[in-house]
């Protein structure tokens, strides 16, 4: 049994002040992938950087206060690797892999952008490079008989059922035709969207609600956090939940943890 959680914490320091550590103490997950830690290891309190019972792998961004991914695991990883061989992105705190027996778990934070801005161009460059890496990763997994799951904030809603307001967002970054097409390619290249495979019907479950306006209270959310896995894992996935907070004030991030149990 392997239970995997992924959550964009929107600042690990802020999250820790608002309840992340209580969630961590209560979770049954074996591995937790985090995104947007937005901190150097030295900036984190001890209880966050090295919580008892967990091994922690951190990949901060070279730009202070930006991005940053991490993987916490009850078992010590066999190997830890940062980046995916990209000159542009390997120091940007967006990708981290940990190997466990028979399975590689990755934490991904795909750039977010706004249409017509340099950040959106960056997102597109990332998608291109990372897509190629995913193909390579899969080939190596097949060759070595390992499974792979890439957990994280992909910053793209795949289909209309993956966001509350798809009509209003047809021209919004995160739901652009080219972004959706890219995800489709990923999902047709030997990787599967595990939550959707367990819950074929939408709408949702959403995993992100903007802090702006009343998005959370109106459940005006997006499903942009995924566990994207190779077939051996998909076949063994038994349960998926999005741990939506009970109320606005009980949130410690604008994203909710996406947790999947694998009979592995």
């Amino acid at each position: 049994m392997l239970t995997l959680s992924t959550v964009n914490v929107n600042g690990l320091r802020a999250a820790a002040k608002k309840g992340f550590l209580e969630w961590l103490a209560g979770t049954g997950a074996d591995v937790i992938c985090m995104q947007e830690t937005r901190a150097e290891p030295d900036q984190l309190p001890e209880a966050v950087r090295e919580p008892g019972g967990w091994h922690t792998a951190l990949a901060p961004s070279s730009a202070k206060g930006r991005a940053g991914v991490a993987i916490y695991s009850r078992a010590e990883p066999e190997d830890v690797r940062t980046g995916f061989g990209s000159a542009e992105f390997d120091e940007s705190g967006r990708y981290l892999e940990c190997d466990f027996p028979g399975v590689t778990v990755a934490s991904l934070y795909l750039p977010s952008g706004d249409v017509g801005t340099p950040r959106q161009d960056e997102k597109e460059r990332f998608m291109k490079e990372f897509g190629e890496y995913l193909a390579d990763l899969r080939e190596r997994a097949v060759a070595s008989g390992r499974e792979v799951v890439v957990c994280g904030d992909w910053n793209i809603a795949h289909r209309e059922v993956d966001l509350k307001n798809w009509k209003a967002n047809r021209k919004s970054a995160g739901f652009l035709p080219e972004e959706r097409a890219w995800l489709t390619e990923v999902f047709e290249s030997g990787y599967t969207d595990v939550v959707r495979s367990l819950h074929p019907e939408g709408p949702g479950p959403y995993s992100w609600w903007s802090y702006r306006g009343k998005a959370f209270d109106n459940d005006s959310g997006w499903r942009i956090d995924y566990q994207v896995a190779t077939p051996g894992l998909v076949a063994r996935a038994t349960e998926a939940v999005v741990e939506r907070a009970p109320s606005y004030d009980q949130r410690w991030s604008d994203h909710a943890p996406v947790t999947v149990t694998y009979d592995f």
Copy 2:
């Protein structure tokens, strides 16, 4: 009877969220001089920009989020003037005058600096220019039979009794020999430190406690907020209080209001 308060609000927007408006509603002051408003008029909520029963004169800095002085008064001023004729400082939100019958009330926010930094050089340039202006202001007051009081954050403790830890601060900006000498000059040129004249004994009353460490709880304060007045007002000053908050959490600024009643 004229009651005058002066207080560095350390961000009028923040202060308003923490109790400034309640203090305003309860004060018996007729005129309130404020410093470090740190806001453009448009950034202020209506209840702060135009509270009922008050006339408000604002002199924001041209640099957003910095400095800024204001004068609130129950009576409408006869005249309002910003700056003191300085090319360098007139747009910096550091000086504002309001005329009332027989008396000119000014709100002053003297720059603060750190030894060896450009800000300290700026403070020194300000002291020099403003010292000359004070002499001129006094001459005009004498000639026209008006009184003058310059209220504000002068960012200088005058004597050893004016801060808790004078020995440790002999080389600190705000208690440098040259700054203290400058204040002595002011106080020997026809202006008087009204609070000290009513309370000749120190230590204190302090008007500022750093937010750092336990300065407030230890009463490790500085007296840097003054009402500096011409003789006709000094002679009529009957009572002076520093409205130190009852506890750390009840503060809405790191400074306390300094309130003087004049039998005028």
